[in-house]
């Protein structure tokens, strides 16, 4: 199999995807004494070309290795990165290839790639439950890590109102609103408890948010007791 340089790979994506190709970055760094190159490529594509891009990767490397899908909450969009590695099994030839997409929050859908890479199933299930991105056509849509009684409509990795803030166990002496958590989260924290805030219509969660204050107070009292007794 012919091994392309990062620049050639980027060019081949540009040519094949046309206007659906957004951007690319090549990262290179010299490592240790012999100054061999560590290389990584990031390719940004539009969603409509996502499957085509994965097929392109599968053409570069038979059985491309999908390490993981990482996802970030970017405000009104969700960023997904499919971390592939290609050209493995050869001395210092391997390339990390991150396929980056962003989806608007009102349309969080991405086609499955389990037909191309059967081993993608775990990470697709995880992305679905943790980020609330619907993987269309996933052969097994059960939860992976979250327990069955976890409320629906709450996504642990989100930083908006669907984040898991109501589920936090707040330690004695701290509060959900305090600065002990990251400052950039003060807003979602405030909004998640403010009145009149629109919450996803979900019975389980509505109930949970109503009870959350009392439940947390109770928990705080319980955890504080032994200390006070001392």
């Amino acid at each position: 199999m012919e091994i392309l340089s990062p620049e050639e790979i980027v060019e081949s994506f540009k040519a094949a995807l046309g206007s659906s190709f957004i951007d690319s970055k090549i990262y290179q760094r010299e490592v240790a004494v012999k100054k061999n190159l560590f290389q990584a490529i990031w390719i940004y594509v539009k969603r409509d070309a996502f499957r085509q891009a994965v097929e392109l990767i599968a053409r570069l490397q038979e059985y491309p290795h999908l390490s993981i899908i990482s996802s970030s909450d970017l405000g009104d969009r969700i960023g997904l990165i499919y971390h592939f590695t290609i050209y493995y099994g050869q001395h210092l030839k391997e390339l990390s290839l991150g396929l980056c997409l962003s989806l608007p929050k009102n349309d969080l859908k991405i086609p499955t790639i389990t037909d191309l890479i059967p081993g993608a199933i775990f990470t697709e299930r995880e992305t679905q439950e943790m980020m609330g991105v619907e993987v269309v056509g996933i052969p097994d849509d059960r939860r992976l890590f979250l327990p069955d009684d976890f409320p629906e409509g709450v996504y642990p990795w989100r930083k908006d109102e669907t984040g898991p803030y109501d589920l936090l166990r707040v330690l004695p002496g701290h509060s959900c609103h305090s600065d002990s958590f990251a400052s950039c989260h003060s807003e979602p924290f405030a909004s998640c408890h403010s009145e009149g805030e629109k919450r996803p219509k979900n019975l389980a969660q509505d109930k949970l948010s109503e009870e959350s204050h009392t439940a947390q107070d109770r928990l705080r009292e319980e955890t504080q007791d032994p200390w006070e007794k001392k």
Partner: protein, 412 residues
């Protein structure tokens, strides 16, 4: 009509180092189907990194992702942060990182070898291997100051140097392992009992390994010469011309069974010894940390913007950490961790199918799952829906009895 049973193994089981549940559909002794249920110890570590901790605190959190792989996680993590923030660690630090990582591999593979021997009921080997493992644990303690969480890594270098005075002690321990290596090899590869239980059991074919994204010794035992140390230039490994170890070095043909996984791990112990020796010989002089003042480092990390991916070869396979930094933000914007067992678990249904219940402990242990221990399994009779508890001891007993039975048959 045949009755199929569902046997849930776990979530607590000594063959698993962390909780996990395997739902085995069995027809008599034969396993028809397997479902893997995970999540029992999901601790939300990534959430903490994205919401509570600053990047330096995260090093110590990453170290606690796993007790056995407590080097490879911070290793991958700091590489990701260094990439995101544009920091280049000193050359000497790269060599120290590799030495520590290889020490971890030796102790982890020996630990696994002991567990595997225990699973088949070969207790004397289990005691022998774990006694031998103490030497490397002592070395780790004297070099890093701790047996388990070593806190050696720092963004932009390592926190402790390995000095010339420590070299003789390291070499002495390595010489000890070299002196007993032939003995270990005989015990694990030539012993009749181990061959009986490991040959042609739990087979993972090369194509399945590739499709199911297997990594580490599990993949290499199936003939996929995939090793991050060989494939990608990271840390001092880039200087050392590492070659991925596949079982055909000894057996000529690759089967992808439990025996092949033993070969790979055994040879990797030897490879790790050689890597450490080369690192000691070639270690460049110089500083070990680029910025010793934590406040200054934190400040520059807060201003940094970018993303990085760190990949390291853990004893069990590739660990990947993805980190995204945002300027003005104290925590990480995104942190995604993927440990090797995450992907190796997807091979479990394939390698258990068609096997026997008594093979479950050794086959499951053969991927060296980084999950915890089998205390009990619930046997559900699908006809009557009656549940009966099968303790780990009973399951383990089944496995031990099979070894005895096969030994007796051979002796006859």
């Amino acid at each position: 009509m045949k009755t199929t049973y569902t046997i849930p193994v776990g979530p607590i089981h000594p063959a698993l180092k962390e909780p996990i549940r395997l739902d085995l559909r069995v027809d008599g002794e034969e396993i028809v189907d397997v479902d893997v249920v995970v999540g029992q110890v999901h601790r939300g570590i990534e959430w903490l990194g994205m919401n509570r901790n600053n990047p330096i605190q995260n090093i110590y959190l990453a170290e606690r992702v796993c007790g056995i792989c407590n080097i490879c996680h911070p290793f991958a993590y700091i590489m990701a942060v260094e990439q995101a923030a544009g920091i280049t660690p000193p050359e000497r630090a790269e060599y120290i990182r590799v030495i520590i990582a290889e020490m971890e591999r030796i102790h982890s593979h020996l630990l696994w070898a002991g567990v595997a021997a225990h699973e088949v009921g070969f207790e004397s080997v289990f005691y022998l291997v774990w006694r031998v493992r103490e030497k490397i644990m002592d070395l780790i303690e004297s070099v890093t100051g701790n047996r388990v969480t070593k806190a050696m890594f720092q963004i932009g270098g390592v926190r402790r140097d390995i000095t010339e005075e420590q070299f003789p002690q390291i070499r002495k321990t390595l010489d000890y392992y070299k002196s007993i290596f032939a003995q270990l090899k005989t015990v694990f590869l030539d012993d009749r009992t181990i061959r009986m239980r490991a040959k042609n059991v739990g087979v993972l074919k090369r194509e399945d390994a590739l499709k199911l994204l297997a990594v580490g010794p599990t993949a290499r035992a199936s003939g996929v010469a995939k090793d991050v140390r060989q494939d990608q230039a990271y840390s001092a490994y880039a200087d050392l011309d590492i070659k991925a170890i596949t079982p055909d070095i000894i057996t000529e043909t690759i089967v992808g069974d439990v025996y092949d996984r033993i070969i790979v791990r055994l040879l990797e112990v030897k490879q790790s010894i050689e890597i450490i020796e080369r690192c000691l010989d070639e270690m460049p002089p110089g500083a070990t940390l680029i910025e010793p003042k934590m406040a200054k480092l934190l400040n520059s990390l807060k201003k940094a913007e970018g993303k990085g991916v760190g990949r390291a070869e853990a004893p069990r396979g590739e660990v990947i950490h993805y980190v995204c930094l945002e300027a003005g933000r104290e925590t990480l914007a995104t942190w995604k961790i993927r440990a090797p067992t995450y992907v190796n678990l997807m091979s479990i249904p394939t390698i258990l199918k068609g096997g026997q219940i008594a093979d479950v402990p050794i086959v499951f242990a053969s991927i060296d799952p980084c999950m915890s221990c089998t205390n009990r399994a619930v046997v559900v009779d699908r006809k009557t829906n009656k549940k009966s508890i099968m303790t780990y001891e009973e399951l383990h007993q089944l496995c031990v009895e099979k070894t005895r039975r096969l030994s007796n048959e051979l002796a006859r």
